[in-house]
């Protein structure tokens, strides 16, 4: 009976596949052992997997049975000792250990189940255990995509950069991405393309060109790579998102230009003409996405404008809305989500563009976001960057953890928000930095791209009396200027309506002073009404009828000290650029509060020793 066994087949199968095909097309082996694997968290729920030991009398090797062969064990056909015909298999070498994947197996029943024959030695390195479904540690990688073969391959444990016997890069060692620096001269990395940008072109007086960039990911980290001009033609079509490649020197490693990337690496790569890029045979040993989650409570310690990843339970989804960007007039689709997590905090997150319009996750699903920008609007809020990605119900430990928490207790929780977080200067969010006039001018508020908001405590010293109001449309919600048709009617172009008289609205310039200087502010209807104490219509009427009374009104309104909430921004007047200060709201002083504030200020000064 021993003669039936194809001795030496195992050795050939692993070390000389061609010979194995010729000499042992259908190896006959003895099954020495059968063990059931309880699957832990290996993906597909409760799949039963069997591992067996097969021997060809010379060697033995550990094998994983493909699920389609499970029936042989269930039906009791495959037992310890019996002889099998291996009809289809795959030989793998995992971390130096040889593993056989059994795709199709037939039990030769006529030979029964003899005792272990011969004295088989382990094939290759001593392997005590086969590759089981390993525990994916929390620092491991997520979402390893199984290759679309007939069976599910065993999950590969986290591989240190090791020599791969698969085809492709033969001799050079694989570097981890974190190890790349300008000092490394010769290296190869094996990484997956997590995102690829479009080809961008630029035309400048200094020259023109095109570029594209990709983000590479491996177990150690991520790095951005850019190809210019010729390299765009060389590599753009070769590199596909989601695929794994070997990239080798020559390839430049430089300090990263952080403003173009959301990755934390200090360095970035630039492709050169001789850079080698090869698609990897083995697409599975590199992680797919790498998350570095910050939990929602920790967000309050994260600085504004930082980029983070978050994961949470989707509590609320708003409808898609469209907003038009003021500067570019382009419409943008946006959608707001509310996420909660097991720290008991909730946060609003905005998603844009296609991600927003195609969003279809249900509340209570788990949403993971990679690459969100933190802003201090409303305390803390998030915005998904265009380079960021979103995953719904991802198959990662954090997601399962959150799901479990939500199902048990989270659903009924009330969540704290960061809204009561004091941003600089007070509880009203961004509008509350109290400044003196000299500070406003010194700090050049309003000269940057974004408008600046501040509070000002100052006295009105002069109100400009010509053109303090404009005729406005009477329609509800419309404040557009109406044209005097000179026949007693006033026409609004926006509403296409005529009114018999306009509703005058203030557009007032006032000069205010404080102990440090003077400033011109412009007020709109609601603020000016507070200052004047009368509506614009009334004042216009006075202008028609009683000019002296009008003058008196202005005098009376003068010299009042108020708290102004202002916005400073730069406007272009033809060729000139000027900073204009607009009043968002004005309020009379609460003397007690102001007095106490001043007291504190004095105490602070004296503590500083002034």
């Amino acid at each position: 009976m021993a003669g039936q066994i194809t001795q030496g087949a195992l050795d050939a199968m692993f070390n000389d596949p061609d010979r194995a095909q010729q000499q042992f097309p259908v190896p006959i082996l003895q099954c020495l052992q059968i063990k059931t694997l309880d699957s832990k968290n290996g993906g597909a729920g409760a799949t039963e997997r069997f591992r067996i030991v097969l021997s060809d009398l010379k060697n033995y090797v550990q094998c994983m049975m493909a699920t389609q062969t499970n029936h042989l064990v269930h039906d009791g056909l495959l037992q310890r000792g019996c002889i099998v015909r291996l009809k289809q298999y795959q030989a793998q070498c995992l971390k130096g250990k040889n593993i056989l994947i059994v795709l199709d197996l037939e039990v030769i029943q006529s030979l029964g189940c003899p005792e272990k024959m011969g004295d088989p030695q382990p094939l290759g390195s001593r392997s005590a255990e086969p590759a089981q479904n390993p525990n994916l540690g929390s620092t491991g990688f997520y979402g390893v995509k199984n290759e679309p073969t007939q069976d599910t391959k065993p999950q590969f444990p986290r591989q240190a950069p090791s020599r791969n016997t698969s085809a492709g890069q033969g001799s050079s060692t694989i570097y981890p991405i974190e190890g790349l620096s300008p000092f490394s001269h010769k290296w190869t990395i094996k990484a997956r393309v997590t995102s690829k940008s479009d080809i961008k072109t630029w035309h400048k007086p200094s020259g023109e060109g095109k570029l594209f960039s990709v983000n590479f990911l491996d177990e150690s980290g991520e790095i951005r790579a850019t190809g210019f001009n010729d390299q765009v033609d060389q590599f753009y079509d070769l590199l596909q998102e989601g695929q794994v490649y070997y990239i080798s020197t020559p390839c430049r490693v430089q300090l990263a230009k952080k403003q173009y990337s959301n990755l934390p690496n200090d360095y970035e790569l630039t492709f050169e003409r001789d850079t080698q890029i090869e698609k990897a045979e083995d697409q599975t040993s590199v992680p797919q996405v790498r998350f570095n989650f910050v939990n929602i409570q920790e967000l309050q310690d994260v600085e504004k404008d930082a980029t983070v990843d978050v994961i949470g339970v989707l509590k609320e989804v708003q409808e898609v809305t469209q907003i038009v960007a003021k500067n570019t007039q382009k419409p943008y689709d946006k959608r707001e989500l509310t996420l909660v997590d097991n720290t008991g905090y909730s946060v609003r997150c905005t998603i844009w563009g296609k991600t927003a319009t195609n969003f279809d996750a249900q509340p209570e699903s788990i949403v993971a976001l990679k690459g969100t920008k933190v802003s201090d609007f409303g305390g803390r809020s998030l915005s998904l960057l265009s380079s960021g990605t979103m995953a719904i119900d991802p198959d990662i430990p954090e997601a399962h953890h959150l799901k479990g928490w939500y199902d048990s207790s989270g659903r009924n929780n009330t969540f704290a928000t960061h809204n009561n977080m004091q941003t600089l200067g007070g509880a009203t969010g961004r509008k509350d930095d109290t400044k003196t006039i000299s500070q406003v001018k010194e700090e050049n508020l309003g000269t940057s791209e974004m408008p600046d908001y501040f509070s000002l405590k100052a006295t009105v010293v002069f109100i400009k009396q010509d053109n303090f109001a404009y005729p406005g449309c009477r329609s509800e919600g419309c404040n557009k200027k109406v044209t005097d048709m000179l026949d007693g009617t006033w026409r609004c172009e926006k509403c296409q309506v005529s009114h018999d008289r306009p509703q005058y609205r203030y557009i007032m310039s006032i000069n205010v002073n404080d102990h440090t200087g003077q400033l011109w502010l412009s007020c709109f209807d609601d603020t000016a009404r507070i200052i004047m104490g009368k509506s614009a219509d009334e004042l216009m009427e006075m202008r028609e009828n009683d000019e002296t009374r009008l003058a008196a009104e202005f005098v009376q309104a003068n010299c009042r000290k108020l708290n102004f909430s202002c916005r400073a921004k730069t406007d272009t007047f033809g060729e000139q650029q000027r900073v204009r200060y607009q009043v968002m709201s004005a309020a009379p002083l609460d003397y007690k509060m102001e007095g106490n504030k001043l007291n504190e200020l004095i105490n602070a000064y004296s503590q500083m020793g002034m």
Binding site: K592, G595, N596, N599, I602, S606
Partner: protein
Amino acid sequence: MDGNSSTPRITCAYLNQYVGKLVTVVGKVVQLRGEEATIDADGTIHAFLNREAHLSANNGVQLIGKVNPDLSIKVLSSIDLGQGVDYNLANAVVEVTHRYKPLFLYEN
């Protein structure tokens, strides 16, 4: 107002520094008895009121008057401040006045 004198704001504790001088006091009316009043300004002060004084108990009051040798005040002018007086703030002002005397007081 004279050009060369000042009427510093004080509380009870500073009375003995300003005997015979004109001072301003902000405090709460504790008791009213005809032309006499008891004022709480971080301590108890006796005030002898004049004809025009129309005070109400428990209201705030600002008095301007001269300090007598017995540390009572002869009131020359009074203003009723009503209910919403922040006495802590008022006292803080007094403290600051005395910490930064040159800013607030004329030194003769």
